[in-house]
């Protein structure tokens, strides 16, 4: 019988269990030891138990001996929360120490979803005076975080008021999972003043996170904030605190010996950023911006003639940087972007224009220096100049004029003759010597402008003689920025030294120790004879001082200004004319330096669609120059009597309606 046989087999197979594990039963004197042999299933059971326990032991060896260090790290990370200590961003100051960009403390509220109960949420909503909708939105936001996400902090309220802060602090113990974090916020105490120059910050985006920024950091986005980002930023520190699984803070005492598992360094102080001291003079900046604000859209630059230091630079209108960087509503941002006066654009640096007649110094110098003309020989101006089938016009019929009058009264016909003698290539070479069409090396995204050459025209539809005439008048394809013109005229005023514009004087520690001092950078000593410069100087002085000069309406008694007005034609095919100003009107320019000998400053002013340069831009420029010598640098104010022939005291009334 099969079952029986099996059953017998069952008992016949033997195992040493009783003898190996149980000497007691063997020694107990039981005579019939053979019947105590264990059956097969029992032996299998023993094997199963041993193998199972070996399996468990193996897994423990893996977890504790092989992966132990890794798990220790993870369990330590569990109860140590690292909090970043923000580095205070460096200030930006003007040359005299006035603060242009500063920081103020703000308080943000964060919630860790895992630890925030409905009760806590309700209490928080009450303390922050959230509306029912806001509260529900918040509850939804927190509720949507799962798993590891639920352990990460979520920003609940930004920049809460002092009252809200006090309310939260007083009930802090009843708000597990809610943290208040103090962070600094960038503020610009001068509001819109020098806004384009300073730039603004906004929240770090995905690209920045890859570059070592963290969520919630602010990054310089334009202007000096962007250029000096690495210097201003500083480096953050950290503080490590002990927490339990519910996010409650634990002191080192409470942890006792467990605290020894923590890393040695529990705190590292942040390194504050460096303070940037600019070459900008805040008072002059105010003067410049006040002068520009009389127009719809304008830009100006004032540079120290013999160093290239930018003393003031402005673009009007400008936004308040305190409001930029993600703090505007969508509507406000759109309004800024679609504003016809383009407040977001820095017109002093990042936009280029036809320089118009302010460019005439280039063909004039080229002709003088290369001996192509006799400056005293007159050209007769009938108000028009014909080249082939083209007719080029002048403002009026000047009659016979030498170079001096051609400059001071801005006779185009004279310069048409001149341009034919000088040619496009020479003009281009001289323009480049003065920095036109070249990058300025400020690192603020400034435009290089453009100077056309023969090659350029050959590649763009062929060269025609008229192009040289246009170029001589700063039209055609010539483009220059406000600062470029200021630098070029500074070179005229300082005897031919072209400087690199300079904005940052030095970098300091927060306590005021100088870290890095910058020196003026000479780009080139231009090969110009002093006699040529002197000839030019006299002509430029008469632009303002002579009653026939184009900018004679801008004459201010006792001010020694040499400069050139410009009226740059606007491309007539511009779109969008509904903007309340005449977009077909010419751009008005005035660029000059003062005093005319040993110039202290050079000034460039552009009034977009302002009309005649001599009438619109020049008075703005002279007002700025007057402001400079009255309020910034009275020591160097020229004394008219002593200077003698340099300044003509006006005896006749200026021609009404100017040069037209």
């Amino acid at each position: 019988m099969k079952p029986f046989r099996r059953s017998k087999l069952h008992f016949d197979l033997r195992i040493g269990l009783t003898t190996s594990l149980a000497p007691s039963s063997a020694s107990s004197g039981e005579p019939n030891a053979t019947s105590l042999r264990a059956p097969l299933p029992l032996r299998i059971a023993v094997c199963v138990a041993v193998v199972a326990f070996l399996g468990l032991a193996g897994r423990l060896v893996q977890l504790q001996a092989l992966l132990g260090d890794d798990y220790l790290q993870r369990s330590t990370n569990n109860f140590i929360r690292e909090r970043e200590l923000e580095a205070v961003r460096g200030q930006i100051r003007d040359r005299r120490g006035e603060v242009l960009a500063d920081n103020r403390p703000t308080f943000h509220v964060y919630a860790t979803p895992r630890y925030v109960s409905q009760v806590t949420l309700g209490r928080l909503a009450r303390l922050l005076k959230l509306s029912e909708e806001q509260r529900e939105a918040l509850a939804k936001k927190l509720g949507s975080k799962r798993g590891g996400e639920a352990s990460k902090q979520v920003l609940v309220a930004e920049d809460i008021s002092r009252d809200q802060l006090a309310a939260l602090e007083s009930e802090k113990d009843l708000l597990p999972g809610i943290d208040i974090e103090a962070r600094t916020r960038r503020v610009y105490p001068q509001k819109a003043t020098a806004a384009h120059l300073l730039g603004y910050l906004n929240m770090a985006g995905p690209e920045d996170l890859k570059r070592g920024y963290k969520h919630g950091d602010y990054v310089g986005r334009s202007g000096l904030e962007q250029k000096l980002e690495q210097k201003l930023r500083g480096s953050p520190g950290f503080e490590r605190i002990f927490v339990d699984a519910h996010g409650r803070r634990k002191s080192e005492n409470e942890l006792g010996k467990m605290a020894q598992l923590a890393p040695q360094e529990m705190r590292r102080d942040p390194q504050p950023g460096l303070t940037a001291v600019l070459t900008i003079d805040l008072d002059l900046q105010h003067i410049v911006e006040e002068a520009l604000s009389r127009h719809a859209s304008a830009a100006a630059a004032v540079v120290e003639a013999d160093t290239g230091r930018v003393l003031a630079m402005a673009s009007y209108p400008s936004p308040d940087p305190n409001l930029l960087g993600g703090r505007l509503t969508r509507g406000e941002a759109q309004r800024l972007e679609s504003d016809p006066f383009r407040p977001l654009l820095d017109k002093s640096l990042r936009e280029t224009y036809y320089p118009g007649s302010t460019f005439k110094i280039i063909p004039a110098l080229a002709a003088l220096e290369e001996g192509l003309i006799d400056p005293d020989q007159k050209q007769v101006c009938y108000g028009r100049y014909e080249l082939g089938r083209h007719v080029f016009r002048c403002m009026k019929a000047h009659g016979p004029v030498p170079l001096h009058e051609a400059l001071s009264q801005s006779c185009n016909v004279y310069f048409y003759h001149l341009a034919e003698k000088v040619g496009l290539e020479r003009m281009a070479r001289w323009a480049e010597r003065f920095g036109f069409g070249q990058p300025m090396g400020l690192g603020l995204g400034e435009a290089s402008g453009f100077v056309p050459t023969l090659d350029y025209y050959k590649q763009h539809g062929g060269f025609r003689g008229g192009y040289a005439l246009n170029t001589a008048l700063g039209q055609g394809a010539v483009r220059a920025s406000v600062l470029q013109l200021a630098m070029a005229y500074a070179a005229l005023g300082n005897g031919g030294k072209l400087y690199q514009p300079m904005l940052v004087e030095r970098l300091e520690t927060p306590s005021g120790d100088s870290v890095e001092q910058f020196a003026p950078q000479l780009r080139a000593q231009l090969p110009i004879l002093p006699s040529s410069l002197e000839r030019l100087r006299r002509a430029l002085v008469d632009v303002v001082a002579d009653h026939k000069g184009t900018a004679s309406t801008a004459f201010i008694e006792g001010l020694d200004v040499a400069g050139k007005s410009g009226t740059a034609q606007v491309r007539k095919n511009r779109r969008g004319e509904s903007s309340g100003w005449d977009q077909l009107n010419d751009h008005a320019w005035f660029v000059g330096y003062s005093p005319s000998r040993n110039a202290k400053i050079a000034v460039a002013v552009l009034i977009e669609h302002g009309g005649l340069g001599g009438h619109v831009a020049a008075p703005t420029a002279t007002r700025i120059i007057q402001g400079y010598f009255d309020r910034i640098d009275p020591e160097h104010k020229p004394r008219p009597i002593a200077e003698g022939p340099a300044i003509k005291l006006r005896t006749t009334l200026p021609a009404s309606a100017g040069a037209r």
């Binding site: 099969k2 079952p3 029986f4 099996r6 059953s7 069952h10 008992f11 269990l17 009783t18 594990l21 149980a22 007691s24 039963s25 107990s28 039981e30 019947s35 105590l36 042999r37 264990a38 059956p39 299933p41 029992l42 299998i44 059971a45 023993v46 138990a49 041993v50 199972a52 326990f53 399996g55 468990l56 032991a57 897994r59 423990l60 977890l63 504790q64 001996a65 132990g68 260090d69 890794d70 798990y71 220790l72 993870r74 369990s75 330590t76 569990n78 109860f79 799962r146 798993g147 639920a150 002990f242 339990d244 699984a245 519910h246 634990k250 942890l255 006792g256 010996k257 467990m258 598992l261």
Partner: protein, 365 residues
């Protein structure tokens, strides 16, 4: 004097050593584990141990004939309780497992484990000839008898205990002398049945647990968080542990409910691999010694009784530790003598009482 000595000689020395060691280690660990628990847990565990010891002695001195007579009534009674608990039981954490009196309670599902051991031992020992000649009858009878209460427990739902009852019944079935072919056949049928249960018979949260175990990265509700934290605790103990009362995972509450299901993680964190191997050795010794007592027992009823208890201990220990160290899904199975809880302590003590009872009667008196 001589009566005392005679009584003492009936007490199994190695078994006692293992039990005492485990109770000691368990209490030591529970003291640490319950430091962050609601107050009074440690002392209430002490009380349960004391009551359990009394129960152990009481069970150890019971007449085996009485036990045999009790087998059926106990089974029927506990099954009745299981039905009753489904109707009027207290709902704790979404399942109906308890009869409650105040803060104390009783889980009939725990009693069912003991009752199944008793019934199995009785069933397979009462008619050895029948077992040989009509094995099918016993097979069908036995499986019907354990499946009914297991399903009732599953309905509560209490996956861990249902699973344990099943494993217990199958272990007993495997250990009794039935034809191997028959056993093989039953196991293959059983496996397919188990697959069907898993596929269609589990509650949503139970499925999620299984799913989380198989694919921890999915972690739809954070169920895996606890299991992961347990792994951190164990692994971070390394070779020698962080030291007694110094487990950060335990004391800073990163281990949830660690005094019932995860005391091994607490132990592992504070005592390291060395402590773990010591604890495993104690358990293995206890189980092997119990098996030894069974093999040494010449009486069929007593042998099967002890085998049942050995199976109970073995499955409790392996499943609990396997789930804590991430080798099995998290099901509510306690670690004998180490986990906190009256039901668990009393069940294990009663089972040990049965082992003592049999070990004292290895030889016909």
């Amino acid at each position: 004097m001589s009566a005392l000595r005679r009584t003492w000689s009936l007490v199994d020395g190695p078994l006692t050593a293992a039990v005492v060691a485990l109770i000691g280690l368990g209490l030591l660990n529970l003291y640490s584990a319950t430091r962050v628990a609601p107050k009074g847990m440690f002392s209430s565990q002490l009380m349960w141990i004391a009551i359990g010891l009394v129960l152990l002695v009481g069970v150890a001195v019971l007449d085996q004939q009485l036990l045999k007579r009790l087998a059926w009534p106990a089974y029927l009674g506990v099954t009745g309780l299981l039905v009753a608990v489904l109707l009027v039981g207290k709902v704790v954490n979404g399942s109906r497992r308890w009869f409650g009196w105040g803060s104390y309670g009783i889980q009939p599902s725990e009693l069912m484990k003991l009752s199944l051991i008793l019934l199995g031992a009785h069933l397979f020992s009462s008619d050895p000839q029948g077992l040989v000649h009509r094995p099918w009858r016993y097979v069908l009878k036995w499986h019907a008898l354990w499946i009914v209460p297991a399903l009732l427990i599953l309905k509560q739902p209490d996956l861990g205990t249902a699973l344990l009852c099943g494993l217990l019944a199958l272990s007993l079935f495997f250990l009794v002398p039935l034809p191997p072919k028959l056993k093989l056949w039953v196991f293959s049928v059983g496996l397919s049945g188990a697959f069907l249960v898993v596929r269609f018979g589990l509650k949503e949260y139970q499925k999620k647990r299984l799913l989380t175990f198989l694919h921890p990265e999915l972690d739809p509700t954070g169920t895996g968080y606890h299991a992961r934290q347990a792994l951190f605790a164990i692994g971070s103990g390394r070779l020698f542990g962080k030291g007694y009362l110094r487990g950060t995972q335990n004391h800073l509450q990163f281990l949830p409910e660690h005094w019932t299901d995860f005391p091994f993680a607490v132990w592992a964190e504070e005592w390291g691999l060395c402590g773990c191997l010591l604890l495993l050795a104690c358990f293995l010794f206890l189980i092997l010694w119990t098996l030894h007592i069974a093999s040494a027992c010449r009486d069929r009823f007593g042998r099967y009784l002890v085998l049942g208890c050995a199976a109970l201990l073995f499955w409790h220990v392996t499943i609990n530790i396997a789930m804590v160290i991430g080798l099995a899904p998290v099901v509510g199975v306690t670690l004998p003598l180490v986990s906190y809880g009256g039901s668990s302590v009393l069940t294990v003590m009663a089972a040990l009482g049965l082992v003592y009872n049999v070990s004292a009667r290895r030889f016909p008196l």
